[in-house]
Amino acid sequence: MSVEQWVFWILAPISVASAILMVLQRNAVHSALFLILNFFTIAIFYLVLGSPFLFVVQIAVYAGAIMVLFLFVIMLLGVDREESLKERIKGQRVLAIVLVVGVLAEIVTAIRLGVGISAKGAAGWDLVNKGGNPQALARVLFRAYFLPFEITSVLLIVAAVAAMVLTRERLSSVPDADMDVDIGEEEEALA
């Protein structure tokens, strides 16, 4: 077995295990930490798949920024909240298991059926990746995909502004819709 295969077969179980553990943790902070571990493994997979650029981006953006943001918010909203194990919606767990197994089965079937599997990389891969992966990506990104690039930059600004608007402190003179009262009345009316 080659190096890649070794790497793959060691990291794959870790990846899956961390994912499962993430879902099963009752403490939200623990979940976040396991997710970070998962992201790391995926980053290495990117590297194995011949994309060092994405390897770095994954770690920097996902694990570094997004998960940190998550952790901030978790701690803001009460780090010691523990979810109870009791499931209130009837049949939800059963349905979830059934559906998830179904999805998995279908995708695996699709993979087995539809994809031509070959053990070596496509011809011309090195040609495409000429000059290193970042350079190659830059060639594609700033020419063919320039418009989407600009749009996503606008998107990022919009997201930042939205976050500020949604979470700003309301001045006492601007009345908030008193949602609790309205809801109460509605529920009384419907009851």
Binding site: V61, L69, F70, T152, T167
Partner: protein
């Protein structure tokens, strides 16, 4: 590249389904959100694998954009969760049932 691409795809599928399970089973809004992120990651993995397989950089570019958009989405989503929390001091999605008849 010696790893058969099919195996990677299967791995991605497994990660995706685990993320789906997390969305359905958990009640904490933040954990649900994290599961969604895991789904996105699985998809990105698929894209990169195919990019390698087909000898084209489009998959990697797409994965890159996906990451950017995911970042923006996380920002806005967390802002929403925070503002909901401010009103109701809960992140339990079961209590967000205003759409009930």
């Amino acid at each position: 590249m010696n790893v058969p691409v099919g195996d990677i795809l299967v791995l991605a599928a497994i990660l995706f389904s685990i993320g789906t399970a997390g969305v359905l089973v958990r009640r904490n809004a933040l954990v649900i959100f994290m599961s969604i992120e895991m789904q996105l990651n699985a998809v990105n993995l698929t894209l990169v694998a195919f990019s390698r397989e087909l000898g084209s950089l489009n998959g990697q570019v797409l994965a890159f954009f996906s990451m950017v958009v995911a970042a923006a989405e996380v920002v806005v989503g967390l802002a929403i969760i925070v503002s909901i929390f401010r009103r109701r001091t809960t992140v339990n999605v079961d209590e967000e049932n205003l759409l009930k008849w």
